[in-house]
């Protein structure tokens, strides 16, 4: 199984000159043909991590292996087999779309024909247009076309759908799925939960330079509690709720977090029925990736506050 890992990252660290540590001991591996998503808020360290995998910078610590090579020191061996979609930019603004593709094709072994590359992302009609006249979404698609030029074995996509409209996003997802089905290993970063949820075989949630949780989307959500929310009538104090429910009340609003949603919800409803209490705005939902994500982000925010309080003293 280990031999099949296309990307292997161990205890990866990246500190910038100013002392800021953007990547702080990240480890994961991606198997051949797998689609792995790195999910996180802006500033979580996703792009800093991906740049190390792409061999654009030397890690401050830890190791990266892509297709068995160090992408920084053995750039020559890895480059022809990987495709990279940068987070933004990278086009001379006065070249046309076709000229940009031709420039990159000259630096890509076994490059697709310009026409074919533009067809893939639906930019054929824009081939004679200067890059500076493209919309943000069109630039993203050009970027994707360049990443796919050499039919890469490993594809790095840094926020591939940021700036795309709903249709463009669906088209890109469709294309990425087809590539994965064709055997391409894909690592993508995103801050869209639904993107990670619908595309990824496995994902990692990144926060403040660390990976908080890794697994399939189902595994990641399974670690999170389900949630029941409702509002009690004015004359019913939260203290009357059955103790076994472990409810947290904020005024009349009550929240119950539980790993056993069905059992706790049944108990709550039975109690309400028997006590003749009307539960307002009742809402019960199982854990979602969104909650896992927000949980992790919120935990980070608390840490910040704690640190700030300490500093203030």
């Amino acid at each position: 199984m280990m031999n099949d890992a296309v990307i292997e990252v161990e205890e990866l660290r990246r500190a910038y000159a100013g002392g800021f540590t953007a990547v702080d001991g990240v480890s994961f591996s991606v198997a051949r043909g797998e689609l792995f998503a790195l999910l996180g808020t802006n500033g979580a360290g996703k792009t800093s991590t991906v740049e190390l995998l792409e061999g654009l910078a030397r890690p401050s610590g830890g190791t990266v292996r892509v297709l068995g090579h160090d992408p920084y020191t053995e750039r020559r061996s890895v480059r022809p087999r990987m495709g990279v979609m940068l987070q933004e930019g990278g086009f001379p603004s006065d070249l046309t779309v076709a000229e940009t593709v031709r420039m990159c094709a000259g630096c890509t072994s076994g490059a697709r024909a310009t026409q074919e590359a533009l067809d893939l992302v639906g930019l054929t009609e824009r081939s004679g247009v200067r890059v500076k006249q493209l919309s943000g979404g069109e630039k993203r698609r050009l970027d994707l076309a360049l990443a796919l030029l050499g039919r890469p074995e490993v594809l790095f996509l840094d926020e591939p759908t940021t700036g795309l409209d709903a249709e463009g996003r669906r088209d890109t997802w469709e294309l990425v799925r087809e590539l994965r089905d064709g055997g391409t290993t894909v690592l993508l970063t995103t801050h869209y939960l639904e993107e990670a949820e619908s595309l990824a075989d496995r994902l990692a949630i990144m926060h403040r330079g660390r990976i908080d949780v890794t697994g399939t989307p189902a595994e990641v959500t399974a670690t999170r509690p389900a949630r029941i929310r409702f509002v009690l009538p004015e004359d019913v104090p939260a203290g009357r709720l059955p103790l076994s429910l472990r409810a947290a009340a904020d005024g009349r609003a009550v929240e119950i977090r539980t790993q056993r949603l069905q059992r706790d919800l049944s108990e709550l409803l039975r109690w309400a029925e028997e006590s003749n209490v009307e539960l307002g705005a009742l809402d019960a939902r199982s854990a979602s990736l969104e909650e896992a994500f927000l949980d992790i982000a919120a935990r980070g925010a608390e840490t910040v506050e704690a640190v700030e309080t300490v500093d203030a003293r």
């Binding site: 022809p80 990278g90 630096c107 076994g110 893939l120 055997g183």
Partner: protein, 274 residues
């Protein structure tokens, strides 16, 4: 975008399928071609590269009219024309490449190219090719025109002339890359490239041949970056310096080139500062 047939996205190529890998030639051609289109489309840069050196020849000629060139053995027009080649090197190569390297970095083009197969050196050379090639052709045209129409002597030592020109092109391209490492925006390139421009114009014999300067000043000026290349160009075209003087100039040009290439490796920035 239309749905793609699976045929197009299927099966990533593996190493064994024997796809032709790109060569240095392919990559330089692709980069040079793109950069040439950009140069032609950048009207300001093109104008600066093509016509300003010509204007400078007139300016040099005017200022030389008031200086005694008696000892040097050059006529005013001869000194002006060799100064013009120096202007091409300093403005069309050094000036425009400082802007070009900075622009490509700010647009993240250099970063993108580094995700592909070109080596760092190829990226820098490919970017410099059009400006350097244009400067070479421009110099050749200036020499031919001066010999044909301005009664200037034909190159006395063509090998020295071409050698001086080539090392000048490499040196000033490398110096442009070094300068761009300390330049944040294309606009500020005008300012960051000014010191070397001024030093070269005044001290490397572009306006006034070093032979016309007092000895002590001249020997100091011989240490400046562009002086070696300029001495080779002037001697190659008009004659004069020989033997040890030529060797000294060649050595100085070589040392400056090696230093500049080393400085590029050490300090060049591939991405904008964050």
């Amino acid at each position: 975008m239309s749905t793609v047939s699976t045929g197009e996205t299927e099966s990533p190529r593996s190493r064994e399928t024997g796809v032709r890998t790109t060569t240095t030639g392919d990559r330089l051609k692709a980069l040079g071609r793109a950069e040439f289109s950009l140069l032609v489309r950048n009207r300001t840069a093109l104008f600066t590269a093509l016509f300003v050196p010509l204007g400078m020849i007139v300016a040099i000629r005017e200022s030389l009219g008031r200086i005694d060139l008696g000892d040097t053995g050059f006529s005013v027009i001869e000194a002006s024309m060799t100064g013009g080649i120096g202007m091409v090197l300093v403005m069309a190569v050094y000036g425009s490449l400082t802007s070009a390297y900075t622009a490509r970095r700010e647009e993240l083009v250099l970063k993108r190219l580094r995700t592909m197969e070109a080596s760092d050196r190829e990226i820098l050379v490919g970017t410099a090719l059009p400006a350097a090639g244009l400067a070479f052709v421009q110099s050749a045209v200036m020499i031919a025109a001066a010999v044909a129409f301005l009664d200037v002597r034909a190159p006395r030592q063509p090998v020295v002339l071409v050698g001086g020109l080539l090392i000048g092109l490499v040196l000033l391209s490398a110096l442009a890359a070094v300068t761009s490492a300390f330049t944040r925006t294309v606009e500020s390139a005008q300012i960051t490239s000014m010191p070397l421009f001024m030093i070269s114009v005044v001290g490397s014999g572009l306006f006034v041949p070093l032979e016309a300067l007092p000895d002590r000043v001249a020997s100091l000026c011989e240490l400046l970056p562009v002086t070696g290349a300029m001495t080779l160009i002037r001697a190659g075209w008009l004659g004069g310096a020989e033997g040890n003087d030529l060797l000294g100039a060649a050595l100085s040009a070589l040392v400056w080139t090696i230093l500049s290439v080393f400085a590029v490796q050490r300090w060049f920035r591939w991405e904008p500062r964050r």
